[in-house]
Assembly symmetry: C2
Homo-oligomer: 340 residues x 2
DNA sequence: GCTACATTATGAACCGTTTCATGGCGCAGG
DNA sequence: CCTGCGCCATGAAACGGTTCATAATGTAGC
């Protein structure tokens, strides 16, 4: 009945007092109940209920040092690609009774830093990061200080940091090759900033393929940087392109959300897909196949990316860094091909 | 140059020693730099860099007691509805320099409990929860112990806990009313378990509307509980329904992901939508309008839900609990109506 | 030269756990 | 009866920060 002082949470000492035992015993009840006589244990448990005691995680961790949580920092929590990866991570972590906390950097380096620091300061076992910048020096520093780091969805430029990625250059090639095969010679690429490695790599792949086909990227390719990597960004970019007058015959979008915005806009503007403009997306999210014009997209093994990343992190900080690279595949549908 | 012992992170004491000052001074440099002479400050900062010191968040928090982080526990991190809400939360938190950690309960009460405990033990300012069960006694307990709690997407049955919800009974009514207006008299409702309040409420709304129209729910309505609240769940459920032989003329899905699975399956099976079977979803996610058969759906103000919830949490633990209830709207499209 | 006061730096107390050396106690074996 | 051992419970040290009363030093005013 008698609660401890107005706003202070009950501590282990309060419980000990209430149960008439020492703090050590309460701690034992909490952590190694088998070492405590059943009678004593019950008294302590009663006191815990009575005071509705909740362990102070900070104190616990301060002393014990470790915690079975890992953090994930993704670019955009509203992008199904990243959340599918997150589900893969969760599935793997669950097996080892680890927990996952997800944070979203919103492509912003300072937000990424902030969450990174937060995770590190709180002593998580490790962090999986989709970096918002090309420079990963800050991640190396975290790694050096003993926190596990796995790069998500982008290859590591450093041998000491593990990564699970998909070959984005190849992805760009696949998309470009397909559009070339369909007869397009003027392609717009609605891309994100090149500071995001995936964007730079996909661009590189596209250019490579154009050059291989004997085209001059300077004329055959127009790259537009979207304001945000989602449907709104796609919509704004395609509108700009349409208003500019010289409309390309094909649009390659850096992800399916951007493609969604493009398709939406083209439909509103009564521009036929793929007849007037072909559209290719990236990620092959769940709804891509069900759109009014089913979306051609570059598929990545999302779930598997998450699982492997968690694998690597759980291998522990002393395991040798590994660099997993998956290959993307192209899924052709109606948005880019009459046959699709 | 001389790093501290092999695997121990540098502590404030190490920094103090290296800089030739006391620990108190280091702490001041960290927290109130203006109180430290520039010269001293620089020496300390140099030592911090040198030792690549990172504050121990647990120790800091143990003493300081507070932390500017809030947690969110949603049912499914891969559901755009929840991540849109999360973005709303983030946007609001950002203004007050709070950070958000998201966890996914996967509809599982024990996972919800686990994350809840994790958040509470680590002393977050508050938690926003989409409860996986009808019983929220455990949330009340958290609240009583001084951690802020806001119910997300479901009304609070308790006056002491704030909530930001959308009228789900009304949502069910809107969907049912619409299908009745379209002439359907045998409706399948692919629903989640009634332990999830939203599911129970939407069911109630459907039944209400059927009764109001003079129909007997026992014959006019068949409720099927999906195995999971996503496309796979929807697919499995509709397959079961098709195989059972007596196919209803309309399917109402508890969310748009389930509806996506249904649409996908119906297309594969060459069943015309809405001619053979009408489909209505819930949430009006971004892609709903762009599907091959644009999806009729009950729209909820996702972003606004997140913003308001964060508002309430940031009001502090002593503010009076508030119960915000938004009204859903029906967006009619081609999946349920020829005119849509 | 002395006092009053402002500015900086100090170091010990404290936060709430876990851990571990220590001690009390009962019991079996000799 | 004594020894040795196993079982429980104890209480203090330790984790790494923050905070605060206090000390040291410098400066201004009289």
């Amino acid at each position: 009945m008698t609660q401890p002082a107005a706003h202070r949470r009950a501590s282990i000492a309060d419980v000990a007092r209430a149960a008439g035992v020492s703090v050590g015993t309460v701690s034992n009840v909490l952590n190694r109940p088998e070492r405590v006589l059943p009678g004593t244990r019950e008294r302590v448990e009663a006191a815990i209920d009575e005071l509705s005691f909740v362990r102070n995680g900070s104190a616990r961790q301060l002393r014990a040092g470790t915690i079975t949580t890992v953090g994930a920092i993704v670019l955009d929590i509203a992008n199904p690609f990243f959340t599918d990866v997150a589900r893969g991570i969760e599935e793997r972590l669950d097996r080892d009774d680890f927990t996952l906390m997800v944070a979203s950097s919103d492509d912003k380096p300072d937000r990424e830093q902030r969450y990174l620091r937060l995770f590190e300061e709180h002593g998580v076992q490790g962090v999986m990061v989709v970096p918002a910048t090309d420079d990963i020096e800050h991640l190396l520093a975290v790694r050096r200080r003993g926190t596990g780091v796995v790069l998500l969805d982008r290859p590591s430029s450093d041998p000491s940091i593990s990564s699970v990625a998909v070959d984005d250059v190849r992805g760009g090639e696949l998309a470009a090759r397909h559009l070339l095969d369909e007869g397009h010679t003027r392609i717009a690429f609605l891309n994100g900033p090149h500071t995001i490695r995936q964007c730079a790599d996909r661009y590189e792949g596209v250019v490579k393929e154009l050059v291989a086909a004997g085209l001059d990227p300077a004329t055959a390719l127009v790259e537009i940087t979207v304001s945000s990597l989602n449907a709104e960004g796609g919509e704004a970019a395609i509108r700009g392109l349409l208003e500019s007058g010289d409309r390309p015959t094909a649009v390659f979008c850096v992800n399916d959300l951007v493609a969604l915005g493009v398709l939406r806009t083209l439909r509103t503007e009564n521009i036929a897909v793929p007849a007037d403009v072909a559209v290719v997306g990236y990620d092959d999210v769940a709804f891509a196949a069900e759109l009014s014009t089913p979306l051609t997209s570059v598929r990545q093994p999302t779930h598997e990316i998450g699982v492997r990343a968690a694998d690597l992190l759980l291998d522990g900080p002393d395991a040798a860094a590994e660099h997993v690279m998956f290959q993307p595949t192209l899924v052709v549908r109606g948005s880019s091909s009459a046959v699709g």
